[in-house]
């Protein structure tokens, strides 16, 4: 290993002065792009929080900088309430997510539960539901006065009632939809564990349960903590679910509060910027914590294991755990989908009792006719796809360039590129939107109101994920292959073109399709950047929801779900097909 490294640096040292200048130029270019995408908007956001000028009317001005605006915001009791609600909702949701995620990862990886693949798929499915769609579905199910769940309870003669328009409802929905984040971390850790320690406990006489709690879980604690922190961070930035479930009782979290501020008449952009900064600080603290926990551990999993994880024989209990998987699937996928179908096809949402639920005369296609009558519907789908494509292609190319520079070159300044490209992790989606609004709204004729501002905001927002996933794809290619090309005289670009890209293509395509799907779903950052011309699917859904017609909202949610399902399925098929054609991949 050392010998290879010194050989490599010899190759670099013998590079000409011209090559040194080129690499300097390259780094400057990347830093400039990143500065434009990430640093400039965040600085503008900071500026907005510290002044009280209205960017639309007066333009951005540095003259009235003061901390008073920020301090007034901090002292506002509504902000404190929103912050408290946010922490409680995300904390509670994370606890539930950890419980569910850990349980299912153990069931899938470490037991002999039947149909494990099916449970594994069920554990990941909730990730694909857009949060707003999930919120609408659970509002239909869990409304205290008219929800389908309560209608069912009344019919069954039971006295229980649920009320999802509450902190409990919010925590529950957060928990079940973000369990997959925890699942992915803990399942991977459980898979890579050395079982000898567990075997030692068993030999010493510990029961299966005791081994579980005293050996297994402590060993994977870093994965549990990382998953926990990640799901907390993601929940912090979600707008759709608290917007729907929190609105009827005025339960505000930071994201819905920021949005309300910009919709006030006149809008309070400065206050919104200040609150966005608060959200960013909270997120950054958690990201910092997460990095500390993960420091010293590599992201890429080691291939070619020397051991296999032990599988626990549950006997008859394995049907119980299988049942748990089915219950989760029912609750998280089937129930909300049914709710959306009922609402989308029913003429009026007044459901007297269960009999009325099955009365066919109450159903019709009128909501679907209505939404497709509006030319904006198809336009928004087209816009969403257009933005998704731009984000995937431009963002993918940029992320590849950044990833390659960080991991495969020795140029100076790549540390900075690494840091700046990872910054957006600490910036929730909604905050990215507000920052971009501030960065561009005062610039007449600028990017505001074009499809490009949306694409750029998405590229910045998803930069960290894309860089990581693209880097993984080419880091699995052994350096020898590149070095062979170098020795034969190919330059860096030639090597990338002829060696790296062809080998990494499946991973690159998979990353780009992931980026495409994320961009299409994104609501938080689009909320502030769209104009009537550039309305995208997710924003139009919110528009339908705020327009008050639950039937039309549900109908459009179904259209979106089907569209996303087709796109994700297609993406999966594309990358798997490509992966099957790949060649030399050594670990």
């Amino acid at each position: 290993m050392n010998g290879q490294l010194s050989r490599r640096s010899e190759v670099l040292r013998s590079a000409s002065e011209g090559q040194r200048a080129w690499s300097g130029l390259w780094v400057t270019l990347l830093l400039a792009i990143l500065g434009f995408l990430v640093i400039y908007p965040v600085l503008m956001l900071l500026l907005g929080a510290l002044t009280d000028t209205n960017p639309v009317v007066e333009g951005i001005s540095l003259s009235r900088l003061s901390v008073t605006n920020f301090l007034t915001v901090l002292a506002n009791p509504n902000v404190a309430e929103a912050l408290a609600n946010t922490l409680i909702a995300c904390g509670g949701g994370t606890l539930i997510a950890v419980a569910i995620g850990l349980l299912f990862s153990w069931i899938v990886v470490r037991t002999n539960t039947p149909f494990k693949g099916f449970i594994a798929a069920a554990s990941i499915l909730p990730l694909f539901a857009p949060p707003l769609v999930a919120g609408v579905a659970w509002a239909i199910l869990g409304s205290p006065k008219t929800g389908l769940i309560n209608t069912m309870f009344k019919w069954m003669g039971m006295d229980w009632r649920v009320d999802f328009y509450s902190m409990w409802g919010l925590v529950f929905v957060f928990g079940i939809y973000y369990a997959p984040y925890v699942y992915m971390f803990t399942a991977s850790a459980l898979r890579n564990m050395d079982p000898s320690l567990e075997e030692a406990a068993e030999i010493s006489g510990a029961s299966a349960l005791a081994t579980l709690f005293t050996v297994t879980f402590p060993l994977i604690m870093p994965a549990i903590v990382s998953g926990m922190l990640l799901s907390f961070i993601v929940m912090l930035g979600i707008y759709g679910i608290p917007a729907v479930l929190g609105a009827p009782t005025n339960l505000a979290v930071l994201t819905t509060y920021i949005f309300k501020l910009t919709n006030w008449s006149p809008p309070l952009y400065n206050t919104a910027a200040a609150v966005a900064i608060i959200l960013m600080v909270v997120t950054s603290l958690l990201v910092f914590l997460q990095q500390k926990v993960l420091s010293g551990r590599s992201y890429t999993t080691v291939a070619g294991k020397a051991f296999r994880p032990r599988s626990l024989d549950l006997g008859r209990w394995r049907w119980f755990t299988f049942g748990l998987g089915i219950v989760y699937l029912l609750v998280v996928v089937v129930l909300p989908l049914l709710a959306l179908i009922v609402a989308a096809f029913r003429k009026f949402m007044f459901i007297r009792d269960v009999a009325s639920l099955f009365d066919v005369r109450q159903y019709s296609l009128m909501h679907f006719y209505s939404i497709f009558d509006n030319p904006l519907t198809l336009r928004s789908i087209y816009n969403a796809v257009e933005v998704g494509l731009i984000t995937a292609v431009v963002g993918g190319a940029l992320a590849f360039a950044i990833g390659y520079t960080i991991h495969r070159t020795q140029v100076t300044g790549r540390r900075w590129i690494d840091v700046i490209s990872t910054l957006p992790v600490a910036i929730p989606g909604l905050v990215v939107g507000v920052a971009y609004l501030w960065a561009w709204i005062g610039v007449p004729g600028g990017l505001y109101g074009t499809i490009w501002i949306l694409a750029l905001a998405f590229i910045a927002r998803f930069m960290p994920d894309t860089v990581k996933s693209l880097s993984t794809s080419f880091m699995q290619i052994h350096r020898e292959l590149e070095e062979a090309a170098w020795v034969c005289g190919k330059g860096v670009f030639g090597t990338i073109r002829t060696i790296v890209l062809p080998l990494a293509r499946p991973g690159v395509i998979a990353s780009m399709t992931l980026l495409f799907v994320l961009a299409i779903r994104e609501l938080g950052s689009s909320l502030f950047l769209y104009t009537s011309n550039t309305m995208v699917m997710s924003v139009l859904l919110l528009d339908y929801y705020e327009g008050g017609n639950l039937g039309k909202t549900a109908a459009f949610s179904l259209v979106q779900t089907v569209l996303l399902g087709v796109l994700i399925g297609g993406a999966n098929w594309l990358s798997r097909g490509a992966a099957q054609g790949s060649v030399a991949r050594t670990g």
């Binding site: 009317v57 919709n263 007044f350 007449p444 004729g445 009537s532 008050g548």
Partner: protein, 344 residues
């Protein structure tokens, strides 16, 4: 056939033909000159910003398209406060793409009147001058408030505005927030000026669910989330017509009325289509459609019709005084926010 019969028939045919062409000409003049119509058809589309409810306006667009199918109307809808923000923001960024802006709050639109181009429909003289606040802005839509309740949920329904303060209706009422737009401001102004200074406090004591605009509230009423509340007639009448379990009435103390302000921005990309659309909406045909099918009123001096359930001899319509409408708005809405606990 005798010569006499032939002459009679020819005369009749001649008169009929003349009547047809004349009505054709009259009709053409009713919506605009043939050049305007041709130019509008060439433009082929227009972008329409409105604060009125989306479902309602979609029916208007459908009716317009029956007359002029070649012109596509793209509608962008937002409640009053948000719509002004959007218009101002887009105008400041030089990206106002609206061809027609239709807004509920004349007080908010008046300072922006310079943004709009000079325009008058063919039947301009038929409109009552008080409803117009600037020569460029016209009352395309005129809305009236009513009270509605869900018949499945309420066995002793309210009959007056004052009834909405009854303690037995606690947690059953809903309200659209005052800062939503011009129509809600008209309503709260009426409540305080006509029903008494303490009306707000008493009504707020029933813990109403607050809605950002009339559309979600009317949907909630049908769904059963709330049982009663004041709603614009055109927000709830279409649902009743379609069979929802709703009863609507006009309370005896009065029915507040709010005309909209509609104009064509100077930067409109499809000015001829915009003019044709507004001409149609403001014409007798357009106004009659909106009254009969949607439950609107009209600002024409002589209303061609009244909506079903609205008896002009019985209902006391109430118009705010425009100078008070402008002067009192900020302070009174702040008071309302405080009383109802709607803060930012």
């Amino acid at each position: 056939m005798t010569a006499r019969t032939f002459t009679n028939i020819a005369a009749a045919a001649g008169i009929a033909g003349l009547a047809l062409t004349w009505s054709g000409v009259a009709q053409a003049q009713e919506f605009g000159s043939p050049e305007l119509i041709a130019a509008a058809k060439a433009e082929g589309k227009l972008v329409f910003y409105t604060a009125n409810f989306a479902e309602v306006e979609q029916q208007v667009i459908k009716a317009f398209n029956k007359r002029f199918p070649e012109i596509k109307v793209e509608m962008v809808r937002a409640p009053g406060g948000q719509l002004i923000t959007r218009v101002k923001t887009e105008a400041a960024a030089g990206k106002l793409i609206a061809d027609v802006v239709d807004h509920s709050d004349r007080a908010l639109m008046q300072p922006l009147a310079d943004m709009f181009q000079d325009y008058a429909p063919p039947n301009a003289a038929d409109y009552s001058p008080e409803s117009q606040i600037a020569p460029q802005l016209w009352p395309r839509v005129t809305l009236v408030w009513s009270i509605a309740y869900n018949t499945e949920l309420v066995k002793n329904p309210p009959k007056t505005w004052k009834d909405l303060t009854k303690p037995e209706y606690k947690k059953l009422t809903g309200q659209v927030i005052a800062p939503s737009g011009g129509t809600t401001w008209t309503r709260v102004m009426f409540e305080r000026q006509v029903l008494g200074e303490d009306y707000w406090a008493k009504q707020a004591a029933t813990s109403p669910v607050l809605y950002p605009s009339g559309a979600p509230m009317s949907d909630s009423l049908v769904r059963g989330e709330i049982a009663m509340g004041p709603l614009l007639y055109n927000a709830i009448y279409p649902k009743q017509k379609d069979g929802a379990p709703i009863q609507i009435f006009f309370p005896p103390e009065g029915a507040p009325v709010n005309p909209y302000a509609t104009g064509i921005p100077k930067t409109a990309a499809h000015p001829n289509a915009a003019k044709l659309f507004l001409n149609w909406c403001l014409s007798k045909e357009g106004q009659t459609f909106m009254i009969k099918e949607l439950g609107n009123l009209t600002s024409l001096k002589v209303p061609p019709a009244f909506p079903e359930g609205f008896d002009p001899k019985v209902v006391k319509v109430w118009f705010p005084k425009f100078d008070e409408y402008v002067k009192l708005q900020a302070a009174w809405i702040a008071d309302w926010n405080k009383t109802y606990g709607y803060a930012q």
